[in-house]
């Protein structure tokens, strides 16, 4: 480890802004390294993503075969295949499942140590999560997409802006997902045991995020309400619709703009909840 990890905004020689950026970067790096340790698990996870890619892709293509005009919910077969395989690639990048670190630390009282650090827990955990996502992007994203491209015809983006929009959309989805996970975990400040909310989140985020099936298969009004009223479709459905070019260029940008709104909202909410929690917190064990 280099000394950057020990640098703190207030005592650094670099000046406050550059020092915070350096600290944030160091935390991202440590999040990245943490996940880079488990190489075999990365391989095992990729295998599983590919198997599920085949399962979902075959089923959706069979649906397309029977649907009116072979376009269920406005996707053609190639767009559906892209939807499925990019979805499997993004699954562990967005990381909707499995993060209970904050809830665990609240339950065990370890959060007390986090609160003593010069960097707030929302910022620190966000940086670690961005590092995790970066690692996921480099190791878990390409393989399922490649497997999909070998076995199925995928949709090739027709508009130049699709790929950069997709990249922005992924980054925003990671941040939104982090905000959601943070809020779900933070219920442990009040409930001690966040298993219930975590379970609801695991259930809801998969289905309403667009992992099991494209949400557009649901009634239109319901989908619009879901998109505007909850951050869930912004997790997977938006990036996948962007790369599959399900909509025209204007809607495509509008969906990403909506994501931006949700990202800001979720981070503000996470910060607000954290401050409220700190005011009433009695750390477990005194």
């Amino acid at each position: 480890m280099d000394q950057r990890d020990a640098s703190v905004p207030t005592i650094s020689r670099l000046g406050p802004f550059r020092a915070s950026v350096a600290t944030f970067g160091a935390l991202i790096g440590s999040g990245f390294r943490r996940y880079a340790t488990y190489r075999q698990a990365t391989l095992a996870g990729t295998f599983t993503n590919v198997v599920f890619g085949f399962l979902r892709c075959y089923v959706l293509l069979a649906v397309a075969e029977g649907a009116a005009g072979n376009m269920p919910a406005g996707y053609d077969a190639e767009q559906l295949a892209t939807y499925v395989w990019a979805g499997q690639g993004l699954l562990s990048v967005i990381g909707i499942w499995g993060w209970t670190e904050l809830a665990d630390r609240i339950r065990t009282g370890d959060i007390a140590a986090d609160l003593l650090r010069p960097i707030g827990p929302v910022t620190a955990f966000l940086a670690a999560d961005l590092g995790r996502a970066l690692h996921g992007m480099l190791t878990r994203f390409a393989a399922p997409l490649l497997a999909g491209a070998i076995f199925f015809p995928l949709h090739t983006p027709a508009r130049w802006q699709t790929v950069p929009l997709f990249a922005v959309s992924i980054a925003l989805a990671v941040i939104i997902c982090f905000g959601c996970k943070y809020l779900v975990n933070a219920t442990a400040y009040w409930l001690q045991d966040a298993r219930g909310p975590i379970m609801l989140w695991t259930l809801g985020s998969g289905v309403l995020g667009g992992l099991y099936f494209p949400l557009r298969l649901l009634p239109d009004g319901f989908v619009t309400a879901l998109w505007l009223g909850t951050p869930l479709p912004s997790l997977l459905q938006t990036p996948l619709d962007v790369i599959a070019e399900r909509d025209g260029p204007v809607t495509q940008i509008a969906l990403v703009a909506l994501q931006l709104l949700w990202a800001v909202t979720m981070l503000l909410l996470a910060g607000l909840v954290q401050r409220r929690a700190e005011r009433r917190l009695v750390v477990q064990g005194g």
């Binding site: 996870g45 599983t48 029977g66 298993r195």
Partner: protein
Amino acid sequence: MAEFRAYVALGTAQIRSAASYRASFLVELFGNVGATVFDVLTVLVLFRATPAVGGFTLREAILIVGISSAGFALADMLVGNVDKLKTYVRTGTLDAVLVRPLPALPQLLLMDLPVRKALRVVFGFVVLGLAVAANDVAWTPARVLLIALAPLMAGVFFSAIFVTSASLAFWWVDSGEIGSAFTYGGRDFTSYPISVYGSWFRNLFAYAMGFGFVAYQPALTLLGRDDPLGLPSWTGFLSPLVALVAAVIAGVVWRSGIRHYRSTGS
């Protein structure tokens, strides 16, 4: 007899511990049903877009889902927790299990019996019941026997898959999510008519690994439908045999895994 009493003691301890945090227990009870509800809901949503998937109507497809979910929920409750084996191997908890004078597998299952998954089993069987009611089955004694056996044998089959894929941890501690490809992946595979899958993928999962005989073939036999893939109608009755073979393989793999096991020393 003493052994049996020990198992009962382990099991009731689990039920007591689950019942002592009532609110958490209720949330988990209903949360677990939710998972299976969404599986069934997914099928309903897909059929909104099309009248037939892989040549099967919604009614017929629900029968396949019903057998698969009832069997999977059963296996997941009774045996599913064995997939924590990789944690037990890594942390060394398995050592404690092995020094006790009881076989390791039943101990592991009863040490962590998820009572919270009970309602999910009920839901699986309710879906199966509704599916049977929705389809016009020409009942014969053989079909009555088959509808009673199919979900149970699906349960045996999925249990065998759970044990086999968990055993992987004996050789490969960091096997991570690879088991899910066959347990949850197997559930997803068996939830749809296997005519939707590409031929090599289907041959591998349905015939080589046996997933085709869990729900699809028995459902065809119940419905009296010809298999679009060409297998004769009696193959639906193979489900107990396939489940038995899977269970034997799982037993062999588990035993050789236990013999192979070397404690991590932690």
